[in-house]
Symmetry: none
Subunit: 408 residues, 2 copies
């Protein structure tokens, strides 16, 4: 089924307002095994709407719209669909009664302009709005377009979501009838292009699945979609072999979930000592509910004084080795582990820029993991500007820790 | 000029990935007095891309695309445009040299698949990518479409933004012909609707400017746009009076910039003790270049043990007052200030959820600021789920500190 989403509202084109409705709808559709082939945002221009609706009627079987159902002068989603499909708008008694009740409950009289919200195209059904005044519209087989369904919903996320869950999704479930499943694998520490080459043969072996590679600053995701659960499971088993220790996580989680899961499974605890990442590492871990079961806390030792005051590193030691060095990073990891009494101590120092710091160029990062079997460390030169280096540094630290726990 | 934006990538349709690129581009266009009439997101399907590009060439004079320029099997923005416009792709020597240099700087050899990134349609110009390997394309008057400009940019925000600022915007400025100036004011701790009412008269007084109020989870921005610099300056002076201590920042900065600027101006230093915000507060501060001049560091005391080990809070004290309480928060702020020897100590405890913690419902937050003249504290009940409460808690803490420094 070809499905598209149209978000209506000039604010989506001119301000920082993100169209989160379509993201939410995309997720709900995925659960039904359905997905968009296109999403569009368009302003409150009647001409632009008419053009877009005409195109959509040609190319899609299910058209979802959000917005433009309100009472004001610039709301005309229903009006435009009715016009291009040659249908009249008539007042729907239930919608009018709902609106009167909505206002009565608030001891107010509906403004005159609001009555246009109760108008529905002839041949369409209203979708009730239990948390607002704008009803939606379900229009199956509109004139001249048999097999097409148009669903118009309000732009207010709370109203749209409730309408979708209670009235739209149940109607679609009978249509969907088949479910598409997804396999998501997160890989850290491997560039996108290398991963592409390294997995080409394996993807070909599972060619009946639809493959996507998504890279961001800190990880690469391999996504497979297909209707056959057994084929996805076979791909999972195969890719565990192909990717080995580089496979950080399977399923919905990311690197930080993987690390917390590892710790919880082993009944172990973690502490961090951060300089360059400045709290980002702790913040990524504590964003996960339940992090407190394994993450004891940490220190952001952003000045030499903090390294001495909080973790007892001697002033002379710091003077000898410098604040950005392998020796200092190892000392921080070991001190953090000892002071907090954790199973693992993870430390990061480096220079995120903008300027060089001592002899360390921008992007320099030292990582150390102190654990039950001793301490290991590595260094890296990370690309990018300050926020990139901090993000990549935090991810590199978590990935280094993950690999050490894996081996232990 | 009719302008549209096309974001390319299946991840924009199927995952939680929001298309933030087009929002950023919309803002940059607004500064030139231009705007989109439509934005579309489409998957990595060659057929869907071809359909969409053909439509766009009919209805728009400037077509901006992001994404689909990478090296992998599902990147074919350039290929599709070249195909529907009947142009060949040829290797661009500069783009190839840039890519070789990019890899050489990292002591790597480009994977074979990467070379397709140096291909450019005949008649188009490459846009160099100083922070990545995928060049963009500037294509003026493509075959059969005189007066049309196609701009293809990478989907990675950092690469796209730099390319836009350095190479695309300068080309468009000559087209737009007028400069629009902006006044941006950041207000914290005041709800959007109150700010709307409180500034209505002042906005009317400066009615020749175009006003926008943008709220997000942690702050409200008042934006004024106009072509007359003097009118913007007059508005700034007026709003400083109207908003008083609620005005956190003017210009590009946010709350954390304002706090670091205050500290630097006074030659003072800061340390933080975080429980509920779990490193987010330190992370927001250290995201700002130069933060190390005033921010000494901090502790993420995510467990009772950490509060004792790092800041010396007695076990009996914690048992008596609980970890989420005014007394504990005050003790943390004072201990952090003392241990690090900072001018100011800022502490946050609370419950971000998902479950209730002791007697503290989700959203409970206690804030304390210890400074030269003593310690002050407040508590709040913040709305939202875990990430919201953490973000709002960090912002409330910074705003509370900002007001204390302001008064000192």
């Amino acid at each position: 089924m070809r499905i598209e989403c149209i978000a209506i509202g000039t604010e989506l084109l001119t301000t920082r307002r993100l169209d989160t409705n379509s993201v939410w709808l995309g997720e709900r559709l995925a659960h039904l095994g359905l997905g968009f082939h296109r999403k569009t945002a368009v302003g409150d221009s009647r001409e632009d709407l008419a053009d877009l609706f005409r195109e959509a009627l040609k190319r899609s079987e299910l058209i979802l719209t959000t917005g433009g159902l309100g009472p004001t002068f610039d709301d005309f989603t229903k009006e435009t669909f009715a016009e291009i499909l040659g249908a009249d708008l008539v007042e729907d008694a239930t919608s009018r009664a709902d609106m009167m009740a909505f206002y009565a409950a608030r001891k107010r009289v509906p403004p005159q302009v609001n009555f246009k919200q109760a108008l529905i195209p002839v041949g369409a059904e209203p979708l009730r709005n239990p948390v607002g005044t704008a009803p939606g519209v379900w229009w199956k087989d509109p004139p001249g377009h048999p097999g097409v369904r148009i669903v118009m919903m309000p732009g207010v996320p709370r109203e749209m979501k409730r309408m979708w869950e209670e009235q739209v999704e149940p109607r679609l479930e009978t249509l969907a009838g088949r479910a598409v499943h997804t396999l998501r694998m997160v890989v850290c520490g491997v560039p996108e292009s290398s991963l592409d080459e390294r997995t080409r043969e394996a993807r070909d072996r599972h060619g009946q699945l639809e493959w996507t590679i998504l890279a961001n600053l800190t990880q690469v995701e391999l996504l497979a979609r297909g209707m056959d659960r057994a084929a996805l499971e076979a791909a999972r088993v195969d890719f565990e072999q192909v990717l080995g220790a580089d496979l950080a996580s399977i399923g919905e989680g990311n690197l930080e979930d993987a690390v917390l899961d590892q710790l919880e499974a082993r009944g172990q605890t973690l502490t961090v000592a951060e300089s360059m990442t400045g709290g980002l590492l702790a913040s990524r871990l504590t964003a996960i509910p339940g992090a407190s079961r394994t993450f004891l806390g940490g220190v952001t030792v952003y000045s030499p004084a903090a390294k001495t005051a909080l973790l007892g590193l001697p002033v002379a030691f710091l003077a000898e080795h410098g604040t950005v060095s392998e020796a200092t990073t190892i000392a921080l990891a070991e001190a953090a582990r000892r002071v907090l009494g954790a199973t693992w101590g993870l430390a990061v120092t480096g220079n995120a820029g903008p300027g060089a710091e001592g002899e360390a160029p921008v992007g320099t990062v030292f990582l150390a993991v102190a654990g039950p079997a001793g301490t290991v460390s590595i260094d890296r030169l990370l690309p990018g500007d300050r926020p990139d280096v901090q993000l990549r540094g935090a991810a590199a630290a978590l990935d280094f820790l993950r690999r050490q726990i894996d081996r232990s």
